[in-house]
């Protein structure tokens, strides 16, 4: 068989590999780099070393040959320099033997942001990593992990940063592909991010995928105003929905409208039979949308399966202020709020809804040191949002993010400066390549 690497193009090396797959190669294929593919300088060493019939187990062969153009670091010293066995087919370079489908499996597990970096490895990878079927495959692999998206529209240019929790790094992703009128971050789901804004007198909503830099403006609602909005993606169905409820500025109620991406239109449903919303946040889980209401007291729940509102008479915990509703995994619903304003016992507590008993059960309390650090002044405002049993707190003036893992009961800070602006908006974001 031919030496892998006779051609300088990885493409043709791969075709040689494919024909080699069925050949017995079982020997220890690490070898000294005596026959690395040409790199534009230096000649190829076509030593018969490692061919059938030669046997070399000398330790002196463990040194790396200096035909490699770049100096090798310690890692590759350890990598290359093993004993060569005979009577098996030898490959000059074990990595070139990697079948294409395994390469895809590996690359599909590289976090979405870092795929961009790998495009500059070579032309073949550049093409592969933009190929729509590869990107679809990448999207199907379990999520890289949650990120926090921080968006701030100062004057003209949107400042947007994404903090990857698994990689513990901020990425200043480019959001200049968005139209200038998109200034309000609605939220994110399944890799899509929803924005709204006014173009002239008209209120619009758009949905985008920051990784592919594609976006789509939604048709206007029947009652087209700035309303309470939430976007949810159904990955199994390859679609998303946007739910619009009441007017954001006043308590004016409109019939609930739902946008379905498969039909590209809004449908009109029951008006929410409640007024006096006492919180600016709503939560969606298990095909249900939840709002806090004062009259009637408790929660208003919109069921997407039967398209109607139901009242849940769950009494709020005593002396609760600033209650945020946060959805967890499956059916879990959390209430996050401050208690004890103007008192030395002020703190932030987290409750979980017991659906069966219809009451809020306290599950955690922010430790005083975190509370003091997050909110220096007792009456400061904070923002709160969640994903999959992670709850994030941001405070306007402190420019910090605080994370709470509900399951592990661990509190941790998010470093970096991206929360600094007072008009910063944030949400959780799970990067995925797929568009809908």
């Amino acid at each position: 068989m031919n030496c892998v690497g006779q051609s300088s193009e990885l493409g043709s090396s791969l075709s040689i590999v494919e024909s080699v797959e069925n050949v017995v190669f079982g020997g220890d294929v690490r070898c000294c780099i005596q026959a690395s593919p040409p790199r534009g300088n230096g000649s190829r060493n076509t030593s018969p070393m490692g061919r059938v019939g030669s046997r070399n187990t000398s330790p002196s062969r463990q040194k790396v040959v200096k035909t490699k153009p770049r100096g090798l670091d310690e890692e590759t010293h350890a990598t290359f320099g093993k004993v060569v066995h005979a009577d098996v087919q030898m490959e000059d370079n074990i990595w070139a033997m990697l079948p294409e489908d395994l390469l895809h499996e590996i690359l599909a597990r590289v976090p979405p942001f870092l795929i961009f970096r790998l495009r500059s490895v070579c032309k073949r990878w550049n093409l592969l990593l933009q190929d729509s079927s590869f990107l679809k495959f990448h999207s199907s692999v379990p999520s890289h992990g949650p990120c926090v998206l921080s968006f701030c529209k100062n004057s003209v240019i949107p400042q947007c940063s994404v903090y990857s929790l698994p990689l513990k790094t901020w990425y200043r992703m480019c959001f200049t592909f968005l139209p200038h009128w998109a200034i309000w971050l609605i939220g994110s789901s399944g890799g899509l991010v929803c924005f709204s804004g006014c173009e002239g007198p008209t209120f619009y909503i758009l949905v985008c995928n920051p990784l592919t830099q594609t976006w789509r403006k939604l048709p206007c609602m029947h009652f087209n105003q700035q309303r309470q909005l939430i976007m949810v993606v159904d990955r199994s169905d390859q679609s998303f929905k946007v739910i619009a409820t009441n007017d954001i500025c006043s308590d004016k109620s409109f019939p609930t409208e739902i946008y379905d991406s498969k039909e590209d239109r809004w449908s009109v449903h029951q008006r929410m039979p409640a007024s006096n919303l006492c919180s600016s946040k709503m939560a969606y889980c298990d095909s249900r949308l939840y709002f806090e209401t004062l009259s009637p007291l408790g929660l208003m729940m919109y069921r997407l399966d039967i398209n109607c509102w139901e009242h849940i008479p769950a009494k709020f915990p005593r002396s609760l202020l600033d209650g945020y509703l946060v959805a967890g995994t499956q059916k879990r619903l959390f209430l996050v709020g401050r208690i004890g304003l103007y008192s030395t016992l002020q703190s932030i507590k987290i409750w979980e809804l017991d659906h069966a008993k219809i009451l809020w059960v306290e599950i955690s309390r922010m430790p005083p040191k975190y509370f003091r650090s997050l909110l220096r002044l007792s009456a400061e405002r904070f923002e709160c949002f969640g994903l999959d049993n992670l709850i994030c707190f941001t405070s306007y003036n402190q420019g910090k993010g605080l994370l709470f893992d509900v399951d592990k009961k661990i509190w941790s800070w998010i470093g970096g400066s991206a929360f600094q602006s007072y008009n910063n908006q944030a949400c959780f974001y799970e990067p995925r390549y797929q568009s809908y």
Binding site: G5, S8, E9, L10, V24, G26, G27, D28, V29, R30, S36, P37, P38, R39, G40, R70, L72, D73, E75, T76, A78, T79, F80, K82, H85, V88, N93, I94, W95, A96, M97, L98, P99, L102, E105, I106, L107, A108, R109, V110, P111, F113, L114, F116, R117, L118, R119, S120, V121, C122, K123, W125, N126, L167, T169, W170, Y171, R172, M173, C174
Partner: protein, 154 residues
């Protein structure tokens, strides 16, 4: 023979022969995790020694150990002991033997080792020649310069 066959199948032992001749005696239920071996058994019921021509004894030992011990904790620590070459050979072994759990674990591990590295490092690992022109590469880097921040040192 009949008495042997009437024993519970899980205690039946099978011999696997690696490419370098090393023999491994494993329980049937362990061997069955390797779908390639399972297919072999399905085809020839009475087989006792199965040749594994593509995998060295050293790697087959690691694979068998993995199958016996795999759980979330073990998997998380498993990949740390191996260098890149071992990971690749183990991946090829897992692929040949058709052990999806191990294959997934190894793909994740390799992805993790290259994910935050520079393109130069990745080229070294996969022994790929950079066929971008300097202009093309500069253009790519500029277009996605935010993705090049925070790169690990090689």
């Amino acid at each position: 023979m009949a008495e042997e066959k009437s024993q519970a199948s899980s205690s039946k032992m099978l011999t696997l022969k690696a490419s370098d001749g090393v023999l491994f005696e494993v329980e049937l239920n362990i061997a069955k995790e390797m779908k390639t071996v399972q297919a072999y058994i399905d085809d020839c019921e009475d087989i006792e020694t199965i040749p594994i021509p593509n995998v060295l004894g050293k790697h087959l030992a690691i694979v068998i150990e993995y199958i016996k011990k795999t759980n979330e904790e073990y998997d998380a620590e498993f990949e740390k002991q191996w260098n890149m070459d071992d990971l690749q050979l183990l991946l090829l072994a897992a692929n040949y033997l058709n052990i999806s759990g191990l294959q997934e674990c190894l793909c994740k591990a390799i992805a993790k080792r290259i994910e935050n590295k520079s393109p130069e490092y990745v080229r070294k690992v996969f022994n790929i020649e950079n066929d971008h022109s300097p202009e093309e590469e500069a253009k790519l880097r500029k277009e996605y310069k935010w993705a090049f921040e925070g790169v690990d040192k090689d």
